[in-house]
């Protein structure tokens, strides 16, 4: 049985012990919000094609070193390798007509990403004139869902990490869809 971080904190009674322990499994009762959007000079179909390829996120997200997915339909999982470790996403819904994808964190790792749980949606809308508007939004819970989280696992840390992840990702998506280098990396074949 894995105890929530808050309880292990109480048992250990020392910060050193809490830092050494593995992350919480349960998420607590107070959700936070993160959202970002971008306008891309590429048609919605083209942008959606990039987004909908669940395991291909490392091809456009500069913060994802590599990713591997079990598929592109509901129930598929993808392992994201981030700078400080791995997390796993589970794909809940994919709506090709509505250009909407919904997924959730299915295996957390608060040392790699200080969020104990999130659900997220990414939608691609037609912005007119051959452009797209992409919205990425999440509902998330801080890394330590106890009432006395350390600074690196509190609401602000979680919201900030998620927002940065979205903003960096949308910049990368925009660059990829517009044929620019993603975070300095030359597009494939150039």
């Amino acid at each position: 049985m894995t105890l929530p971080l808050s309880r292990r904190l109480a048992i250990c009674g020392a910060i050193a012990c809490a830092l050494a322990s593995s992350p919480a499994l349960a998420h607590g009762p107070t959700p936070q919000k993160a959202e970002a959007e971008v306008v891309i000079a590429a048609p919605p179909e083209a942008v959606w094609k990039l987004v909908a390829d669940f395991g291909a996120i490392a091809g456009w997200h500069p913060d994802v070193k590599s990713a591997q997915a079990t598929g592109n339909g509901p129930g598929a999982e993808r392992v994201l390798v981030l700078e400080k470790g791995e997390i796993t996403d589970g794909l809940d819904e994919i709506d090709p007509a509505g250009h909407r994808m919904a997924y959730r964190l299915s295996k957390e790792n608060v040392e790699a990403f200080p969020v104990s749980f999130y659900t997220a949606t990414i939608t691609v809308d037609d912005a007119g004139g051959g452009k797209s508007k992409v919205e990425w939004a999440a509902r998330l819970y801080r890394g330590d869902t106890g009432n006395f989280p350390p600074d690196e696992l509190n609401d602000e840390a979680a919201t900030s990490a998620m927002t940065v992840f979205f903003e960096d990702g949308l910049k990368g998506l925009k660059a990829k869809a517009e044929g620019q280098p993603v975070d300095g990396k030359a597009p494939v074949g150039q």
Binding site: P29, T119, T121
Partner: protein
């Protein structure tokens, strides 16, 4: 006794004044991020009250005489009592732990509060808010419901995948019923034979026979957080937070009969007993959706405070 009755009449009069019409009711909305109790009358959807609350309020229960609202604050270990007639915060008691689900006993003297991280349900004196007992339940108790006729209390133990049944006379857990993954909240409309709970992880609505404890599960959308049944038709309206949809499920059917996409993050649900209408808290857009149940469409979106999660109708 006389005083209480007089207070009730005054409360009713004040409410009629505030609502501007005798036929409207007031919707009470708890906003978690905005730390506010918002009142909206249901005829013209104007704001009736805006009361600042302590940090991160979550769930709300009305006292049986409708004079008070009790609100939990899991992040702060607090329980707040609001005087609804005066729209004033009366007390904020530091009960500790992570108080989340709450229900008031119709006896008027007792409250039950789930402690999310201690895996217990606490019994409190409704007047003093002092603890008079507690009972162990499964991991992470979320929603609570109470059947006054059976004198049973139900706890949706999220991480245990089960509902605990607590006998109120002895205040002991008498049964544990596995219901699915992530049971979160109950349809609190008080069916005599059936208890309904939504499972956020397995994405279904579980119906528990209160006599046999047999469980039937109906698939709905992703991460259903709220449900309420329609007394007129026996259908159940479920808010699917991750899908951004509402499912209108017919009792006994094997799948949702109708689905409405509303977007955002729909969560708490309340059904209006006097109109074919439901109200749904959309946590993401900071709105309450007014849903026309005959047409199954969103009739209006009412801007409220930040992060609305739970709501209830004050008749």
């Amino acid at each position: 006794m006389k005083r209480r009755r007089a207070l009730r009449i005054v409360t009713a009069l004040l409410f009629m004044l505030a609502a501007g019409a005798a036929s409207a009711s007031e919707l009470l909305v708890v906003c978690q991020s905005g730390a506010e109790l918002r009142g909206v009358e249901t005829q013209h959807f104007t704001t009736t009250r805006q009361l600042k609350l302590p940090k991160a309020p979550a769930a709300l229960a009305l006292s049986p005489d409708r004079a008070s609202a009790f609100i939990t604050h899991p992040d702060a270990g607090l329980l707040t009592r609001v005087d609804l007639a005066r729209s004033a915060l009366i007390t904020s008691a530091a009960i500790g732990g992570q108080p989340f689900g709450i229900v008031a006993d119709p006896d008027g003297r007792t409250l039950y509060v789930g402690d999310w991280s201690a895996d217990r349900v606490r019994r409190l004196d409704a007047a003093s808010l002092a603890e008079t007992g507690s009972v162990a339940v499964g991991r992470s108790p979320a929603g609570l419901a109470l059947d006054p006729a059976r004198r049973e209390l139900y706890s949706a133990d999220r991480e245990a995948g089960a509902v605990s049944i607590i006998d109120l006379e002895t205040f002991t857990r008498v049964a544990t019923v596995p219901v699915g993954e992530g049971p979160y909240s109950f349809d609190t409309s008080g069916d005599r034979r059936t208890l309904r709970v939504v499972n956020v992880r397995s994405g279904d609505l579980a119906e528990i026979d209160k006599d046999s404890h047999a469980v039937t599960r109906l698939a709905v959308g992703k991460m259903p957080y709220g449900a309420a049944s329609l007394s007129r038709t026996g259908e159940v309206l479920v808010a699917n937070q991750q899908s951004g949809t509402l499912s209108l499920v017919a009792a006994g059917a094997s799948r949702p009969i109708r689905t409405l996409r509303v977007g955002g993050s729909p969560e708490g649900v309340a059904v209006d007993p006097s109109h074919p209408r439901a109200y749904v808290a959309d946590w993401f857009s900071d709105q309450v959706l007014v849903v026309d149940l005959d047409a199954l469409q969103v009739a209006a979106r009412i801007g409220v405070c930040k992060g609305p999660r739970s709501l209830t109708l004050l008749p």
